[in-house]
Amino acid sequence: MRMNAKSAIRYPILFIVPALVIYMIFFIYPTLSGFYFSFTDWNASSTEVKFVGVQQFMDVVQNPDFTLALKNTFLFSITTTLGKNIVSIALAVFLTTALLTRNALRAVYFSPAILNIVAVGLIFQGLTNPDIGFVNHMFRALGLDWFAQGWISDPKLSIHVASVMEIWRATGITMAIYIAGIQNISRDYYEAATIDGAPAWSKFRYITLPLLMPAVTINVLLSLIYGFRMFEGIYFLTQGGPGTSSEVIMTMVYKYMGQGLYGYSTALNLILVVIILIFSFPILSYLRKKEVEG
């Protein structure tokens, strides 16, 4: 049966419209209204919403906690991105060798990823309690009292403990993506390298890593973005404390939202979105250039 030109265009439109309407209502509209509210004085104690322009953003950057929160956000994002990816590449390489227990070990290393992040935060809170926590008990039992630290109660260490927690939690899922990537690499390359007498490190450096770059791109980018917008992990572990020592942008957003400063916290959130965009695109572009065809 032949369709005329009108029918040919009608059906694609009919299929697109419902999805587009849902997308507009649940994504475009909230995003644009969030963008608008960041330029207003919207707050809990008033029913009037006034446009205040960029003044809101100037107030946000002058907040004494903003610089520290920004620094912590970068520190957390970079540390967790490096940690998650380096550890998981090492695990992926190790768990794709002819190891008898590799399937059991994959399950073990992946298991933290299925835990709720709130539960992980509370577990780590218990583990790193300086007085009754398992970590310090273990160090003291081993006679390594020097290693028993204040952890989440120490303003100098709290953000690093949060980073370690996130690396522990998310390494499994990053590892799974790397394992899938390694399994897609043709064995021919390794056989040829073995015949040429290449050592293990050279095989990794010149075969595995270049051919794994698509997986590296996706993992690095996801880790970076997830790190920038981390909230639950830090909130349930330290609540941004002690003091403001582990405050990140998202915990500030939550705090000011809780204080009823909706416009202010939306402005903070918008700053974070801009930061994520500024850093994600160049990194994506750089990593894509490093990808090679297998």
Binding site: R10, D41, T244, G258
Partner: protein
């Protein structure tokens, strides 16, 4: 898809639009059936929908023939749902807010009906009236959880064992008592500053801050007005600095637990209940869970002294029920509040959860903390906490800064200066006058 084309299609579109608009329209008319039965919408947090409150509702329904339709939501979602409903003029007739006094700062004032001219207001005790009255003199709610006060809960058995027979009336005497307790092997004061449990220590701060009411008695209204309009800075209030210095002194003299940064609410319960610590800053809300585990515990309550005075307690009003200013069934909602305020209902309400009551004529049983607090209320030595008086007071920030102050990385003056900075952010965000 031909059914949506042509004249027939146009009619179908119109029918669909009408159905849609009917589905989205205001439902208020649904609340009046043919027999004119009044149905009151009541929004409440699930955590505060107690059995004793349900009993009041049951009694009201039996007495009036009206119905109360309860919409309960977990507190994590409650505020957002209430705001959405209020802003779309679809708010409930009756709703609850967290602490009545603090509600004046956390919500638009236009939501609330002023109840100050209601008949039952004349029956409020002076202390009770003070607890639930807003800065501008409005009364907008009645407590559905017991109001109370912050001070120090102490273990009577420990005090008796070490020979403390009289409660301290000056700060020097208080330090002597702490020394006695310390020498006897007890932790004199438990400080609770683990992340998420810091409120246990800001209770002590609020109690000591309340002394400003005694030192500035007749100028107190002007003082709070000054704080609210940026004419007085927290860092310039010598009483506040003195209060914080007293707290730091306790730590420096070794009268607090060393592990305060990892001490949580649960650890406090265990330590106090098992008799390891002698005093802990709190309100009477800590009693029910503690007595459930340690039923033989005997506790008393005292405000920590301030300089050479016995000190004042800080009051909180409790979760309150209010009438929506735009309620569909306003008359019935006001009738419900009057019914709840009646002597008989209040006495029944208090019978299952002893504590402080705001009415002068209500015979309510006290708990171990509230009976001592009542003495301070009657003596005029108990005042609303700063968070219920100063609109831009940054309570959450204070809890975190308290950690730094007790760790020694901030002095009391630096703490207050930081609170001034944070208050300024809130005040500017809310466009308060003078900021």
């Amino acid at each position: 898809m031909g059914i949506f084309r042509g004249k027939r299609g146009f009619k179908l579109w119109i029918i669909m639009l009408l159905l849609l608009s009917a589905a989205c329209s205001n439902q208020s008319n649904d609340h009046r059936d043919a027999s004119q039965e009044v149905i009151l919408d009541f929004m409440v947090t699930t955590e505060n929908l107690s059995d004793r409150l349900k009993k009041v509702i049951e009694n009201y329904e039996a007495a009036t023939g009206n119905k109360v339709e309860i919409q309960s939501f977990p507190s994590t979602e409650y505020n957002n749902i209430l705001k959405t409903k209020m802003m779309s003029d679809d708010g409930p007739d009756l709703f609850v807010t967290d602490d009545i006094a603090m509600a004046q700062f956390a919500n638009p004032r236009t939501w609330f009906t002023d109840l100050s001219s209601e008949e039952w207001v004349t029956r409020l005790s002076p202390g009770g009236k003070q607890m639930i009255t807003w800065n501008d003199g409005q009364i907008t709610g009645l407590p559905i959880t017991n109001p109370g006060g912050f001070g120090l809960m102490y273990n009577k058995d420990i005090f008796e064992e070490v020979g403390i027979t009289e409660l301290p009336t000056t700060w020097e005497q208080f330090l002597d008592i702490c020394e006695t307790l310390k020498k006897a092997g007890y932790i004199p004061i438990n400080i609770q500053l683990a992340n998420g449990s810091e409120f246990g220590t800001t209770h002590l701060m609020h109690q000591l801050f309340a002394n400003v009411e005694l030192t500035r008695q007749d100028k107190i209204q002007a003082f709070y007005e000054g704080l609210n309009t940026n004419q007085i800075k927290l860092a310039d209030v010598s009483e506040y600095q003195q209060a914080l210095e007293q707290m730091v002194e306790l730590k420096e003299k070794g009268y607090t637990n060393d592990d305060f940064m990892s001490t949580s609410f649960d650890m406090t319960q265990e330590r106090f209940g098992s008799g390891k610590v002698a005093m802990h800053p709190c309100g009477d809300f800590v009693l029910p869970p503690m007595l459930a585990n340690y039923p033989d515990l005997r506790v008393g309550f005292l405000p920590a002294p301030f300089n050479d005075t016995p000190g004042a307690a800080a009051l909180y009003a409790g979760v309150g029920i209010s009438v929506n200013a735009k309620a569909d069934q306003k008359a019935a909602a006001l009738e419900f509040i009057s019914f709840f305020a009646s002597k008989a209902q209040q006495e029944q309400f208090m019978s299952t959860a002893p504590g402080t009551n705001v009415f002068a004529d209500v015979k309510a049983e006290h708990n171990m903390i509230s009976q001592d607090l009542q003495v301070y209320i009657d003596q005029g030595r108990a005042f609303m906490l700063l968070a219920g008086k100063m609109e831009p007071w940054p309570e959450m920030e204070a809890r975190k800064a308290m950690q730094e102050m007790m760790l020694g990385s901030k002095t009391p003056l630096q703490f207050l200066k930081e609170m001034d900075q944070k208050a300024s952010i809130i005040a500017k965000g809310k466009k308060l006058e003078g900021w």
